[in-house]
């Protein structure tokens, strides 16, 4: 009997595993949070990376995007490999690769080294994220699964807000980490990954698809190329122009690869991602809700960080801490949403969540440069409550529609829609914000070069102002 063979009874029927289930959920959520916060947290350290490595704007963009592209591109394949060879193995291997990439990133001294490290981290992260949710499904009995998924989804959402806070805190200099050392943003992942690996080795059970369906290398290759090219188009579209030859070329590659993937999967006896899943209304609506929910959320995170730092003059740590009310609300509301959803129906729950998100976004739409922080908190709490009410039932809907032996792939669909939605949110909402900013900025009387940079972006005006954070606070009449 191979080490990772599935036992004949369900995992949650084992009294030892059943007793450990909530502790295991904590370990899985910690694994999830380090992967999720690596997307948002590094943004805070980018200025320090730029300064110490003399990185160009293109380098910085690739440091952020390389992780997202590799991560999203590999998710489906990694979920299928986890189902086939063991979710615990996938989690352990993913954490080891993620930790290795983080260690390389912490001690490299070139921008290209950081980009390479982020690619390695992205590969590891693609195995970690689907494995956490599919293991969770295996260790919780059906009657508790909804609540466990809701807690997982709460941390998946809150991780985006926790990342900038953790990295902002580390940059202030803590324990052995020197102040303003960007490597601490990577090294914290190594420490956490090692702790989680020990916990998983000690406590997590083995779980996999016992039918041993053959792998689908052609489907994996097509999904990898298609999703990576799609992410590349979404990320590069606003910078290089949506109709530019480069972007259109990658869009064609994405369309051909993803179209080929659908046709290939429909013809296979044992597809990696059965297309019949999408005929299930619960599965397709859940996927759509995750896409739109994270489209709004990631777009919000992207813009509000700039608003805090470049308009209100917050330090990186304060900017990270400013979103805490939203993260806390999300984590508190998410477990309750599962219970209410069971009573009133998950679709109604998701609709109610979108209503709360709409209300929160409307509150944030009335902000001014010198609005009180309480005004912001009002919007954040509503937005967090909305997301905490929308994402857990949506993830639960996706997972309820896939059979247990496809839990890794179901989880990967949830994660992929989240990443694609998030990238779309940053691209589309970021483009709208750039367009409005450029039409609103007044640069009359400035030297030509200063006017050009200030018109380009709010960061450009910051570079040329020469007044720093104190000047931004002064502009809001907070210093004299």
């Amino acid at each position: 009997m191979a080490a990772d063979d599935l036992p004949t009874r369900e995992l949650y029927e084992d009294p030892v595993i059943y007793q450990r289930r909530w502790f295991l959920l904590g370990v899985l959520c910690l694994s999830l949070v380090i992967v999720v916060m690596s997307v948002s947290g590094l943004n805070v350290a980018l200025p320090e990376i730029q300064r110490s490595l003399d990185a160009s704007a293109t380098d910085l963009q690739w440091i952020v995007d390389s992780y997202a592209i590799v991560f999203a591109g590999l998710l489906l394949t990694a979920g299928a490999i986890g189902d086939r060879f063991g979710r615990r193995r996938a989690l352990l291997g993913g954490l080891a690769v993620f930790g290795l990439g983080s260690g390389l990133g912490a001690f490299t001294d070139t921008a290209s080294g950081v980009i390479a490290a982020r690619v390695v981290m992205g590969i590891g992260a693609a195995f970690v994220m689907p494995a956490t949710l599919s293991l969770l499904i295996a260790v919780f009995p059906p009657q508790e699964r909804g609540r466990a998924i809701a807690i997982w989804a709460g941390f998946a959402g809150a991780g985006g807000a926790i990342g900038p806070l953790v990295v902002g805190f580390l940059l202030t200099g803590w324990w052995v980490f020197p102040a303003y050392w960007w490597g601490s943003a990577f090294l914290v992942n190594v420490v956490t990954a090692v702790l989680v690996i020990i916990a998983v080795l000690r406590f997590a059970p083995r779980s996999r698809d016992d039918a041993e369906h053959p792998l689908d290398p052609v489907g994996a290759g097509l999904s990898l190329v298609g999703l990576a090219a799609l992410l590349y188009v979404i990320i590069e579209g606003p910078n290089k122009g949506w109709l530019g030859g480069h972007v259109v070329g990658f869009f064609v590659i994405a369309a051909i690869a993803l179209g080929g993937f659908v046709l290939w999967e429909k013809r296979r006896a044992n597809p990696m991602l059965p297309m019949e899943f999408f005929a299930n209304r619960t599965f397709s609506i859940g996927s759509g809700v995750v896409t739109f929910g994270f489209l709004v959320m990631f777009g919000f995170f992207f813009l509000v960080t700039q608003y805090y730092q470049l308009v209100r003059g917050y330090s990186p740590l304060r900017a990270g801490a400013a979103n805490l009310p939203m993260a806390a609300t999300m984590v508190m509301v998410a477990p309750r949403s599962a219970l209410i959803g069971e009573r009133i129906g998950v679709f109604k729950m998701m609709a109610a969540g979108f209503s709360a998100m709409t209300a929160g976004l409307l509150v944030l739409a009335t902000l001014e440069p010198h609005s009180s922080y309480l005004h912001i908190v009002g919007g954040l709490v509503l937005l967090g409550a909305g997301m905490g009410t929308t994402a857990p039932p949506a993830t639960g809907a996706i997972m309820s529609a896939v059979p247990m032996h496809k839990a890794g792939v179901g989880s990967a669909v949830n994660d992929t829609t989240r990443e694609v939605g998030g990238a779309l949110g940053i691209a589309v909402l970021g483009s709208i914000a750039t367009s409005v900013y450029r039409s609103s900025i007044s640069v009359g009387g400035l030297p030509e070069a200063a006017a050009a940079h200030a018109s380009e972006s709010v960061g450009g005006s910051d570079d040329w102002s020469g007044v720093g954070r104190r000047g931004r606070r002064c502009a809001r009449h907070e210093c004299w």
Partner: protein
């Protein structure tokens, strides 16, 4: 990237004031658009929910 501290003083504060106001307008406009997206998504999911059987 740090291009240079070209202005400083009152001119610098004037620039960040103008940029801050412009970015705030960009941010609030985007929040309105996001609210619209969220509202439409909510309505669509609500319409789908009308054929859903409550489980409780």
């Amino acid at each position: 990237m740090t291009i240079g501290r070209e202005l400083g003083g009152e001119a610098g504060v004037a620039l960040v004031t103008s940029a801050g106001e412009a970015f705030t307008e960009a941010f609030t406009t985007t929040m309105f658009v996001s609210a619209g997206i969220s509202l439409i998504a909510g309505i669509l999911v609500y319409l789908a929910s009308r054929s859903e059987e409550p489980q409780g």
